[in-house]
Amino acid sequence: MASNDSALVRVANLKKHFPIRRGVFQRTIGWVKAVDGVSFEIKRGETLGLVGESGCGKTTVGRTILRLYPPTGGRILFDSVDVTALKGETLRRLRPRMQMIFQDPYASLDPRSTVGELIAEPLLIHGLADRQGRRERVKQLMELVGLNPAYLTRYPHEFSGGQRQRIGIARALALNPEFIVCDEPIAALDVSVQAQVVNLLEELQEKLELTYLFVAHDLSMVRHIADRVLVMYLGKMMEMSERDELYDNPLHPYTQALLSAVPVPDPVVEEARRRIILQGDVPSPANPPKGCVFHTRCPLAIDVCRQAEPEWREFTPGHFVACHRAQEIARKEVVVH
């Protein structure tokens, strides 16, 4: 089944537009272009961090790749197979190989099912293993994610947020997936618990050779966990590169502003830091600005940015950016402030 292609997931010009409906007849009066032309690949065993602020389309990218939403346009290749238009039984057969870990461990687990039932559910749905086999597998999974298998018959409300997220992870692992979309898996957790869950995700990746798409708004944690990082804004790709290159040499003014906005837990560094404060708010994705979508908040915007959408190009090997002024920024001829 596995091919020689080093990319497990390939996404080309992916689009997901949601209709805006009004009135009694629910006529479509417009479109929210949640994801509007996104292309990237994720290599086997790699973690791609996908970052951006609310409404940038990062969650929609993850869900569309998993085919939880039908894409509006573009192609999704999983293990070299085009899965963009799969339906019915063929799509069902694909599902075990790609799974998702959700943001809210309080909302994503059925409160009336026991932990054992919750973790066994994917096995049951896909008809894997008999009753005894399922029980064994559930216990094994609970141990794998650091839950006491003796708690098999307990209900979600008896667990803390971090433990519930472990249940969610065990569920996602039940079918031995190759690819997992982690959708803000730690956003709802306390700081000390976030570290526990991230450590667990890293251990599991190593042990089970997993490939992750790690969707998050926490840029510090993404720097910790991701190998490469993609920055999105209003449904578009702004910048993508290997992790340290992106954090050390950001080219896009948006990436620069985003990184400079993240507080650093060090008062000496904070005192000396120059912060780029972006003016205003993110525009509505139902009515994105013409030209470069970031121009309304960009401190470096010039006429061309208001008129033409910047091309997505490989600026240096492996470092992609969509900005008219990337060259000047790289040469430090202009500085964002």
């Binding site: 971090g162 306390d190 700081v191 526990q196 340290d244 502003a257 985003l258 507080p263 404060i277």
Partner: protein
Amino acid sequence: MPPLLQVSDLATRFHTPEGTVHAVNGVSFELKEGETLGVVGESGCGKSVTMLSLLRLIPQPPGEIARGEALFAGRDLLQLTTDQMRQVRGAQIAMVFQDPMTSLNPVMTIGRQISESPVEHLGMNQQQARARTIELLQLVGIPDAEKRLDDYPHQFSGGMRQRVMIAIALACNPQVLIADEPTTALDVTIQAQIIELVKRLRAELGMAVIWITHDLGIVAGIAQRVQVMYAGYIVERADVKELYANPRHPYTLGLMGAVPRVDGRHSHRLANIQGRPPDLLTEPRACPFAPRCPFSIEQCWQENPALREVGPRHAIACWVDVTKEDVGRGF
């Protein structure tokens, strides 16, 4: 000069059907004029309840302020009558909450909500209050203040709503602003705007700020002094640079090791504080952090350590006293 606010041995409990929750267990601290005090801790550590207790905003029942004293301008806030307290709240001590959507009244214009307290506390008439409101909206950086006065909260974005909340809090020139995770619900670029705003306002208006957060990064940039809370206790307190350079309580050390840095290279593994905080249904007799502490000794399981000085203006509640160098063999 005496401190602006001096809190001694404050304890707050909640009587719930499951039992009595000991949310705050004898907290003492002071706030000086014009300073920013950062209060750091995770959910349930008592950081918000401490401040709500001072402002007497704890619903009683089920809440109960069991003991303590909170001296503000020579008066004990905990002994004031409801009317006296109302004069303090909003006018002298104001608070900004985490969620600007649920804190604003959705069916009242922004202008009316901001002018409410100048009318109430400063006895302004409608015209004066309107002028004050415009001035406040400009102060917190809302463009076209005059036009936005008659808008409703839903017409504002999350960041703008938080600016409105800050305008309401500042309406009567309070001496103390308590900010309870005011940026947690906001995106990072908007968070940066709000942090800059509060820093500027503090400098311009000379008020003291208490900033409650779980984010060690925010505190590093905004506070002069920091206190770390755990299980209803202050477990460490120091000047901001001292705390980050020489954390001495195992919990503080663990927290600092648990957060990666946006400006730092990948470290192999994040510090793992095992387990979770106690449920506080019984008042801790021993050190509340002992069950999660890799450095605990016999004494930690028997006696609850009091806050003690370990350096200039640096105190910890710990029997062991560890330093950064010990982290490797701990978490």
